[in-house]
């Protein structure tokens, strides 16, 4: 007979671990290194020219908590607060740079449903493949196969290739596999937004069943109502740090109630999340007006301000200003000289010009080119027809703008007759800059 030892406690850092602890996160830090080069040649060239090859930012730091077996915990926070990174750390996809993460029992992540699905395989083959990816054995899958198919409600099409499925059918099957895995700890990221209303309810019921049999749940979702109903406990993250850990209801209240950082960007504004993210990450400071702060979202951004935002976006790396200024109109005494010199050294600033024009506005095409350079000018196929009517095939920034469209960072505007326009010559606003940077980081979180 296996004997259960007396509940013993040990404490890595500040976290109490007992025999019933399912997840222990102690003093965890996750730093992303932002590489500016993508081949050995680029690295060597950058080194020879004395340019920075990389910089870092902390997505998470000093995170401590323990989750008991059978608990349901919601990770809350605005976009960019580090909650998805934390989920990936718990699942083992990413590893912490400092601190420890320990888990007990089998774990499966619904981090993205259907990540392991192959379009050319039938539904049946995909069920087996994905259940095996999530850690199930052949016997377990055989035993649960009928339940999985019944839950997904696509019995008739189970031997059809998945590429012929509608997106709803695909998600139902993928979700069904995930919630039928035999695990002790289930990680859920934004999963409950799939499918239609009745299916969502069914998913929630299934998750409650799992809760009832003692599965530990860690949930990330933007649906705060659902989260506070489903979870007992909420951990609120801001800027990669735990700012609240307690009852889920209170965590949600605290998140909802947090007063906007800027008086001119209220919670009702479309890009509130993105601006708050920029404020929380220390990228946008705004302007002090008396005892309040303004962001001035629709104001056009200047090159100097852009250099400052990007420098902070990159983690405000320390940088030595060269003895002779790179630009004649940005002397060492310029209030943003450090940021602008950094901007020049990373190769992001316009090259080969004597004057930068620090107070000049930045048009959208110029910014697209800058982001494209920053991403290392990734190769992508140009479409035969331009995506935007106002960016024809002979536009000087065609490659950069088409790349931006292909990544989803820019969707452009609806123009007449179902066409889209990018408005390349329109000056970039402060709000648009932050939105672009946010999407850019979501597109490639380690940058």
């Amino acid at each position: 007979m296996p004997k259960i030892s007396e509940a013993r406690t040990s404490s890595p850092g500040a976290v109490q671990v007992t025999d019933s602890t399912a997840v222990a996160v102690a003093e965890v830090r996750k730093t992303f290194k932002l590489r500016h080069t993508h081949s050995i040649k680029e690295s060597v060239v950058a080194m020879v020219r004395g340019k920075t090859i990389s910089s870092t930012f902390d997505a998470l730091s000093g995170v401590d908590f323990a989750i008991e077996s059978g608990e349901s915990v919601a990770l809350l926070g605005f976009n960019g607060s580090g909650k998805s990174t934390l989920l990936k750390l718990i699942s083992g996809v990413l590893r912490p740079d400092a601190g420890t993460i320990r888990i007990r029992g089998r774990i499966a992540g619904l981090i993205e449903v259907g990540a392991g699905f192959h379009p050319d395989l039938s539904g049946r083959e995909n069920v087996y493949l994905n259940a095996a990816i999530l850690g199930m054995t052949k016997d377990e899958i055989d035993a649960r196969f009928d339940d999985i198919v019944a839950f997904s409600e696509i019995e008739k099409f189970i031997d059809t290739e998945v590429k012929h499925y509608s997106s709803g059918m695909f998600l139902r099957l993928a979700f069904s596999v995930a919630v039928h895995t035999e695990v002790d700890i289930l990680l859920v990221d934004e999963i409950l937004s799939v499918g239609d209303e009745p299916f969502q309810r069914k998913c929630l019921d299934r998750i409650r069943e799992l809760q009832a049999v003692g599965t530990t749940l860690v949930v990330v979702s933007h649906d705060l109502d659902m989260v506070s109903k489903l979870c007992d406990r909420g951990i609120l993250l801001r800027e990669g740090k735990v700012v609240f850990d307690g009852e889920a209801k209170h965590a949600v209240e605290q998140m909802r109630g947090s007063a906007p950082t800027f008086v001119d960007v209220p919670a009702s504004r479309a890009f509130f999340d993105e601006v708050e993210w920029a404020a929380a990450a220390g990228i946008a400071e705004g302007f002090e007006v008396g005892d309040r702060r303004e962001f001035r979202p629709v104001e056009e951004i200047t090159r100097a301000e852009l250099a400052e935002l990007l420098h902070r976006f990159e983690g405000s790396a320390a940088f030595e200003v060269p003895a002779t200024p790179t630009f004649a109109d940005v002397p060492a005494t310029h209030p943003r000289a450090t940021e602008i010199e950094w901007f020049a050294a990373t190769g992001l600033a316009p090259a080969g010009v004597a004057d930068l024009g620090p107070d000049h506005t930045v048009d959208r095409a110029e910014f697209a080119a800058l982001l494209h350079r920053h991403a290392g000018e990734p190769a992508h196929d140009l479409p035969r027809k331009p995506t935007f009517v106002d960016v024809p095939l002979d536009h000087p920034q065609l490659t950069a703008i088409e790349w931006l469209a292909s990544t989803g960072i820019s969707a452009g505007w609806q123009a007449p007759r179902g066409t889209m326009e990018f408005r390349p010559e329109t000056p970039l606003t402060r709000e648009a800059t932050v939105v672009f940077l946010h999407r850019y980081r979501e597109w490639h979180p380690e940058r």
């Binding site: 040649k41 996809v93 590893r95 320990r102 599965t215």
Partner: protein, 288 residues
């Protein structure tokens, strides 16, 4: 199953830390499914389908046979040259395919690696098995031809063929893990691998005979040539298929000694590959 009272309490473990290739053995069912998936989808949407895996080596064989066998007259000096050529060629092709595909396997499975944790060694290992599936029909053809012209191998010669395949599997997997792990951060790696693979058929006695090398290079260089695990495996193939169909054909001396060394050095390469893979693995999900 969720923990219940009375169940033994499992130890707490680090998520994302595994035991390398040992985990691949533990997850062999998943390995089997991944291999089957690759085999199934490989020629999807093509009319010839798996016939392509015959067409490609057949074309290569024809070109080499015409150029080297007929025009350069190797067919006159090497007895049963077609069998000599084909038995070496399919092995080197196996090496090339296994090496290139295992090097690329991590980048190709990037979306999965970034989202779900599983032993990442599964991906290069699966490509090696896919390459085996590709190799086997070619071995069958070779076998039929050999039997047709009168094949009388000893047991040791026949077992040598299995050893040859094992050496290439281990060697290609070791190299694939090494270059594949590097490929995640620097795509230069896969271009470098293509270069190695281009040289591979010429760096072993596949198209010509070993004695032609021995006659012109100093002894130490010939020894070095023999130390290449691919060379030792090619010699085993010739010893298994070609030698028993000829009257006077002989493979390079000390075949078994070099085969032993080849196996040993392949295992060392595999250990090095696993070591580097393990060191770099922590960065895969964020660098892909």
């Amino acid at each position: 199953m969720p923990l219940r009272a009375g169940d033994p309490v499992p130890e707490m473990v680090d998520p994302g830390r595994g035991f390398g290739l040992v985990d691949v053995v533990r997850r062999r069912y998943l390995l089997q499914l991944l291999t089957r998936k690759d085999v199934q989808v490989r020629y999807r949407g093509s009319v010839l389908g798996w016939a392509w895996s015959f067409v490609k080596p057949a074309a290569l064989f024809t070109v080499y046979f015409l150029a080297l066998g007929v025009f350069l007259r190797l067919n006159d000096t090497i007895e049963n040259y077609p069998i000599y050529l084909f038995s070496g060629l399919i092995l080197v092709n196996f090496f090339s395919e296994a090496f290139i595909n295992s090097t690329r396997s991590l980048v190709e499975n990037g979306p999965l690696i970034k989202k779900i944790f599983m032993p990442r060694e599964l991906f290069p290992v699966a490509t090696i098995f896919v390459a085996i599936v590709n190799l086997l029909p070619q071995v069958v053809i070779l076998l039929l031809v050999c039997v047709g012209v009168g094949w009388t191998p000893t047991v040791a010669q026949a077992l040598g063929v299995l050893l040859a395949i094992a050496i290439i599997m281990i060697f290609a997997l070791g190299l694939g893990m090494l270059f594949g792990a590097a490929n995640v951060s620097y795509r230069d790696s896969q271009n470098f691998v293509e270069l190695i693979v281009m040289v591979a058929p010429w760096a072993s006695p596949v198209l010509y005979q070993w004695s032609m090398v021995k006659d012109v290079v100093p002894d130490w260089l010939f020894t070095l040539y023999q130390l290449n695990p691919v060379t030792s495996a090619v010699n085993l193939m010739h010893q298994g298929f070609w030698e028993p169909t000829t009257g006077s054909g002989t493979v390079a001396p000390h075949t078994w000694v070099y085969a032993g060394i080849g196996l040993l050095s392949s295992l060392i390469v595999l250990a090095a590959g696993q070591f580097v893979f393990h060191r770099l693995e922590g960065r895969f999900a964020q660098d892909l």
